[in-house]
Symmetry: C2
Subunit: 160 residues, 2 copies
DNA sequence: TATTGTTATACTCTATAACTATA
DNA sequence: TATAGTTATAGAGTATAACAATA
């Protein structure tokens, strides 16, 4: 395969290495970016006791009280089987309560308890800004553009 | 927490849902983007029998013959324990050969076999273009900008 | 019959630490 | 003592299918 300039990835203590077009591969870059975001998250919000995806579940329930469990699962790309366990953990923690509606007794509707709401309200600002604050390699405009492009790529931009 | 316009994520068969600032969260967008890329990958290159990260390992060995196993692991953010299994699978498949150098008999140096090289050469172009071809929501310039920003975010851009 | 959610199982990947052999 | 890689084990997350209750 033809490609332009060989590129290298430098790690402080490591050899140089030829990445070639891998360094411009969207999938590769998304993976490395996600590792970076995770590191930032755990450095700043590790004490939260929740992973990013778990907080997202609480956030969605907080903003869509009574939302169906399956709707959360599909939209966050979490499998039903996993969602069942997650919600039970949140129930045990006292953050979420489940309700089976009379008009469709197969369904499970989710709401936050008072404790769950307090938790989300206390931590939402940190959660939504941890990746933006601090010494990022991107300035504010670049970050905004990155987010706009990712929204468009995923199909979110159109649904504003 | 204050935020601007509530946003919604629409899935063809699903309810509308308020995402709020989650829809502008870098971590969330990276995750959804990666799901999208994976779907594209398996739709187009599922027959390859390898996942994106696995092909990346072969690619690095191909372009850096004799590279140390640990160097590949650190640069691709794969743990040593996992890398050991992966390399053994590639050995069993006849794609990779291991060599313990005389000057440091703890190390393992990796090269591709003839079969491994043929495999990489046959599939590299598809692998590096699958996410670019076809009906993406981004045009060529937007995709190039997205990739540039991700490279900068991850610290790759500087090392060109 | 189809759908919602649950349970069970197996598999992949990660995290961790103990271990070996070398340096 | 430290390093490169291996092995073992446990846990998180995914994939899949079977299942119960309900529509």
């Amino acid at each position: 395969m033809e490609y332009d300039t060989p590129e290298t990835l430098i790690r402080p203590d490591d050899q140089r290495m030829t990445l070639g077009p891998l360094g411009r591969s969207l999938g590769f870059l998304l993976r490395i970016s996600q590792v970076t975001v995770f590191e930032t998250f755990f450095a700043k919000l590790g004490d939260l006791g929740l992973k990013p995806g778990e907080f997202s579940v609480l956030w969605l329930i907080c903003n869509n009280p009574g939302i169906r469990q399956g709707v959360v699962a599909r939209n966050l790309h979490i499998k039903n089987a996993r969602m069942t366990k997650l919600i039970r953990q949140f129930e045990d923690k006292g953050f979420v309560s489940r309700h089976v509606p009379d008009d469709d007794r197969r369904a499970v509707e989710l709401t936050l308890t008072k404790e769950g709401q307090a938790f989300v309200e206390t931590n939402a600002e940190d959660f939504f800004t941890y990746s933006l604050k601090g010494r990022s390699r991107l300035n504010a405009e670049e970050m905004a553009e990155l987010i706009r492009l990712l929204r468009k790529y995923t199909g979110l931009e159109e649904t504003k």
